[in-house]
Symmetry: C2
Subunit: 311 residues, 2 copies
């Protein structure tokens, strides 16, 4: 997500660095959907997308896109968020405040207390907000200090989010196998050597193989790896979620997150997004997933990937 | 939530009608937080607040406020949402589109496809967006057809949300017992006869008694009533959620919803919001809650109330 100076860019650079993908080129997209679809449509090899914030919670559009599209999660990155109030003008003149909806929500108290009369504008990214705020003195953006530098804005106030500790988790996506096969000709023309070729030795499952690159998951222990799935329960089977959690508990698989998202079919009908420790190819987890499959309507494995460790 | 013409107003009127509170006066507040706090601070006897939408999911700020404040859920109302694009001007001139963040999110595809260049502004309510849109021809609001009437706007397009079926669930709140006791003098001066006095026969638990009014929960069957709770698990006890669901499953208590919300302390730490059928005073449920209490760090009972039935 761009333009330059976004938290997504920070996450992308961190990921590039962690995986030593020195030749990687960063492309910028207008919003979460465009950045997500770039990988599905073969416009990028990998996409870095925010999924969860420690103050405001899940990024709904990311969860919806994960369900609707063929993309595989191959990594995660956690970035510390330090929202600043940026402007060309003076605080007392600010009439309009711009940011991504998550940025506005993370600073809700701050905005309500300090700028109760200000107009709040939603933008596709925090950095886009900063770019726009550079146009008029009466505008301010909620964005990173880096965005201030990029667009020649003053940092009027630092750390304006409602809680000092603020982290966003980003996921790294690539197109799922079916999509990748269709994109081979495109990928072959691509400059980035590291991500050109894919191992096909494990093609049995679409979600259990990795490119022949440096982006290998850490195999050293179960807890070093995470798997994300989406499950959709049979309607009117209220005990089903309990049975699913039971399949994990029985095998002592640690869940790290469970999140519901409306099915959009009717009120009270949900998909569950579940993250747990371990790889989908581990025999223990394979068995648990097999057991779960029999109890539910839909199981979508989003991917297995190394859990984020602080650098 | 106001001003006039909001979906919250529709929900409030429906609730007043259902409970035959003919003398009730409707007060309007600028946003969800103000409407919520009105009941906590004794500015209103009841508050009607959106909690969940069938397209965009939970209303985060409502969940946070339920955790932080002493308010009791005593009812729920479901309202069909039919977002329209409202303006004084013509579609081709629209440069700015205003709505509540939930309204913008529910129409994300529509906006991106039809108005990719438009500026999106967040307002405290959809009706506030409509009121503002009346000021300039180049502005439009995403709001109800009723809001168009209120503010003299044309309905340029109807049903612009991303899915035709769109429902929002509202909760009806009153101050919790502790707060109510402090407000007795205030309430005594209030005009609404129906809600003046409270039964104190069940004061053993702060969440299990109801005013001596027509707002009695339907006691005819367990499924006619719902209870909402918040639980906070001991950190690093991954099996705890499973055990909690087990306590419900064992007693055949039907869960209707489970939602996580960040604790805001650190990434990966959550509160769970659980709705289930039945009243907290039912012996079966009392037992289940007692069992749960021993397994977790915090249990907050938000209230037991009649489940919404279509009129």
């Amino acid at each position: 997500m761009g333009p330059e100076g976004s938290y997504s860019e920070k996450a992308a650079k961190l990921w590039v660095q962690k995986n030593m993908l020195d030749g990687a080129e960063i492309h910028y997209f207008a919003d979460i959907e465009d950045a997500f679809l770039a990988v599905v449509q073969g416009k990028s090899d990998f996409s870095v997308i925010p999924i969860e914030n420690s103050i405001e919670g899940s990024v709904g559009v990311t969860l919806d896109l994960l369900l609707e599209n063929g993309a595989e999660i191959i990594g995660e990155i956690v970035v510390k968020i330090e929202h600043c109030l940026l402007s060309k003008g003076e605080p007392e003149k600010i009439r309009v405040i711009l940011s991504h909806p998550q940025g506005l929500a993370q600073c809700r108290h701050f905005l309500k207390t300090n700028f109760p009369e200000a107009e709040l504008r939603s933008t596709g990214s925090t950095s886009h907000a900063a770019r726009l705020a550079g146009e008029f003195e009466e505008m301010a953006a909620i964005a990173s200090p880096e965005a201030a530098e990029c667009y020649g804005l003053k940092v009027l106030l630092s750390n304006v989010q409602d809680r000092k500790e603020n982290y966003t988790r980003f996921i790294v996506l690539r197109a799922s196998e079916t999509n990748r096969v269709q994109q081979v000709s495109f990928i072959a023309e691509n400059k980035s050597d590291n991500v050109k070729s894919y191992s096909s030795s494990e093609q049995e499952s679409g979600h259990e193989f990795y490119p022949e690159s440096k982006i290998e998951p850490d195999n050293s222990s179960l807890s070093a790896c995470k798997t994300s799935i989406i499950v959709y329960l049979e309607k009117d089977r209220p005990g089903a979620l309990y049975e699913i959690l039971g399949a994990f508990a029985k095998s002592r698989i640690n869940l790290t997150r469970i999140e519901s998202r409306p099915s959009k079919k009717e009120l009270g009908d949900y998909y569950f997004y579940i993250d747990f420790e371990g790889r989908a190819s581990d025999p223990l987890i394979k068995n648990a997933l097999k057991e779960i499959k029999n109890k539910i309507h839909t199981l979508k494995i989003l991917g297995s990937y190394p859990a984020f460790k602080k650098p």
